[in-house]
Amino acid sequence: MKQMKDKRYAPELSPQDVQSIRETVGSASLKLMSESIDKMKAMPNRAQGMAYFDEAANLFSKRQDEIQAHKDAGGRVIGTFCTFVPVELIYAAGAIPVRLDSGIYHTVDIGEEILPNEVCPVVKSSLGTKIVQSSPYFELCDATISPSTCDAKTKLGEILEDYLPVWMIDLPRGRDTAQSKGFWVAEVFELKKRIEKFCGQKISRKSLKSAIELVSQAQKAFCRLHDARKASMPVIMGRDAMLAIQALFNDDIERWTRKTEELCNELDEHIAMKRKGYDAEMPRMMLAGSPIIWPNWKVPNIVEEAGAIIVCDELCSGVRGLYDPVRVDEWTMDDMLTAVAERYLLPSTCPCFTPNDNRANRLLQMVEDFKVQGVIYHILRGCHTYSIEFMRIKRVLERSNIPIHRIETDYSQEDTGQIKTRIQAFLEMVKESII
C-alpha cells in the first residue's frame, strides 16, 4: 500500500470515515434497488425466469462469495469499464472480469470531492464507489482495465491508479482507417501479454478459443432475449430485459447464459401460445444516448410507469455490449486476437469516435425491426459526446418521421416530476389520439 503522500488525487479519509460512509451508501443503495425491483415485480404477467436476475443484479449478492473463493484458490479478478475491454482474454487467462461502471446515486457526491462539477455522474459515482469501498465487486478487483474513451473515463483511469493497478488501453479516435485498426489490434496484443503476466498463466490457442466460445454462447442467449422484444404482443418489459442484461456485469457467465436461455424459453412459449402478455397498445419506445446503469432506473421507471414499453436500446450498458459477435476465420492465435480486437472496435457506435456515421443507420434499423414509435434520447449531464450527437440523430430520425425527445438529467431526484411530465407528454404526442 502506497503512503498517502504518494497519492495524486485520493482524498484523505480515515478508515472510520470510510466505514461510516460505506454503511450509509450501502443501505441507501439496497433500498434503491429493492424499490425498483418491487416496481418491476408489480407489473402483471412478469416472466418467472426474472426471479433469478432480481437476485443476480443485487450489487451486494452472494456472487461476491463465489468470486472470493476464486481468489482464495489463487485466481485473479479484473475490473473493466465501457464496452471495449476484450473479456475473452480475461477468461482465457483463468481470471474473472467484472464491469465497474456505477449507477449508484449516493457515491456521486464523494466522487465530486475530486472531480469537477461538469463531469458525468457515471464517472463520479464509479470513483466515489472506490473511495468509500462501497462496491464489493470493485473491492474484489486485483487490477482494472480502463479504455481511453471519453475525456472523463480517460482521466478516471489515471485517478484510480491511486487505488489499484490500472492498465489503460488506448482507443483510436478514428475507427475506420487501416492505421486505427492496426493501432488497436496492437493494443490488444499488448494487453494479452499484460494479462498473462499478471495472472501468471499463458493464454493458449485452446484457452482463447474456448473463451471466445464461452462469450459467444452468452451473446447468443442475449440475442434471443433481444429478439423476443420484437414481438408485437410484448412479453417482457424493457426494465426486466435491461436488468437481465446488466446482471452479466458481475455474474458467472455460464450460469447467466443458462438462466437467460431459460428465460427466453419461457418468453418464446408466451409468444408461440399467443398468451396474453402485456397490453399491445403500449407505445413502443427506444432508449438512446448515455448509459443507464443499474440501479439508476430513474428514466426507465418513469417511461414504463407512464404506460409505455421500452422495446430496445442502443446503450453501451445494454444492447451494444453484447450484440456483435467475434468472427474468426482461422483459429490461429494471431487471427483470434485480431478477430477479438475487431469485434470491440469496428461495430461500435460510441460517440467518442469520429466520424461516427454508422450510429444513425443502426438506430433507424432498430426502429424498423422493433416497430419503435418514439425514441427517448437520454443525456447524462456532462456527457458531451452523446449530447453533441443529439442534433445529428434528431435530424435523421425526424426525416424518417420518428419522434424523438431529449432528456438531460443526472443521478439526483429533483427533476423527477419534470421528467414525468415530459415523458407523459411525449407519449400523448406519439399516440394517435389521447381520447
Binding site: 419522434p403 429533483e414 427533476d415 411530465t421 415530459r422 407528454a425 411525449f426 400523448e428 404526442m429 389521447i434
Partner: protein
C-alpha cells in the same frame, strides 16, 4: 390559487370554491381531467393529461390557426407545436433550472420591490438604456441585479434588461421546435407586456394572447374531459 405544498389539498380547495361559485355539487360533474404538475395527485380526477397536450388543446379552441405555442408558468417553460386539430406534434421544455421560467420574474420583482404585474410595463419605460444581465442562473443573476442597484442604475433599466434576457432565452427554446407564423402565448408570462413585446419584435410576429392566459391549460383539460365523456357514453362504458 398557488399549488402550495399539498397538491391534493389545493385541488380540493379549488374544486370546493369553484363548485360553490357555480352552485354545483361534485357529484354532478360527469368527467374530470386533471393537468399540471400535481395532476397525478388530484383525488377526484377520472384521468390526467399533461399540461403540454392541454395547452395545445386550449389554444386550438381559442385560436384555431395557431400552430406554435409558448407556455411559460412559474415552474417551467414550454415551446409547443401543434396541428390543426390541436394535437401536439413537437415540444421542448427547459431543463431542470428556473432561469427560463416565470419564477425568475417573481424573484426579481420581490428583490426590486416592484409589483409583479408592473414589471412588463416598467421594462418599456427605460430611463437610459436596458441593462445587460449576462448571468443565466437566477441565484447569480440576483447578485448581478444587486450590484446594478448599488451602482445607481434605474430600476426600470434593470427590469428592461431582465425582460430582454428572459425573452432571449425563450426564443432559443422556441427555435428548438421551430416557430410558425400563427403563434400564441399562454401562461403567466403572457401578462408581462415587456416580455411579450420583445418576443414579438425578435420573431417579427404578432402573438395571439388568451384573455385569461393562466387557465388555457384548464380549458384544454375541460375540452378533453368533454370528449372523453362523449366517447365513454358512445362506447357504453360506465364512468
Amino acid at each position: 390559487m398557488l399549488t402550495g405544498a399539498d397538491s391534493a389539498e389545493s385541488a380540493e380547495k379549488v374544486m370546493d370554491e369553484t363548485l360553490s361559485k357555480a352552485g354545483l355539487l361534485l357529484g354532478s360533474i360527469e368527467y374530470i381531467v386533471s393537468t399540471g404538475y400535481g395532476r397525478l395527485l388530484v383525488p377526484f380526477a377520472n384521468r390526467n393529461i399533461t399540461e403540454i397536450s392541454c395547452h395545445a388543446k386550449g389554444i386550438n379552441s381559442l385560436f384555431s390557426l395557431a400552430r406554435t405555442i409558448l407556455d411559460m408558468g412559474g415552474q417551467d417553460c414550454k415551446a409547443i407545436r401543434c396541428d390543426e386539430g390541436g394535437k401536439v406534434t413537437n415540444f421542448a421544455m427547459n431543463d431542470k433550472c428556473a432561469a427560463g421560467a416565470g419564477r425568475s420574474m417573481e424573484v426579481m420583482a420581490r428583490l426590486l420591490e416592484v409589483p409583479l404585474e408592473d414589471m412588463g410595463e416598467r421594462s418599456l419605460q427605460t430611463v437610459e438604456r436596458p441593462s445587460t444581465i449576462s448571468t443565466t442562473c437566477v441565484v447569480f443573476a440576483k447578485s448581478e441585479v444587486i450590484s446594478l442597484l448599488h451602482s445607481g442604475v434605474h430600476k426600470n433599466d434593470i427590469i428592461a434588461g431582465l425582460c430582454d434576457a428572459l425573452s432571449h432565452r425563450v426564443l432559443a427554446l422556441l427555435k428548438r421546435v421551430g416557430v410558425e407564423k400563427e403563434f400564441a402565448i399562454a401562461g403567466g408570462i403572457a401578462k408581462n407586456i415587456g416580455v411579450v413585446q420583445r418576443l414579438e419584435e425578435k420573431l417579427g410576429l404578432r402573438a395571439h394572447i388568451a384573455f385569461e392566459p393562466q387557465i388555457v391549460g384548464a380549458l384544454g383539460a375541460a375540452l378533453f374531459a368533454k370528449e372523453l365523456l362523449e366517447k365513454s357514453i358512445k362506447c357504453g362504458v360506465d364512468n
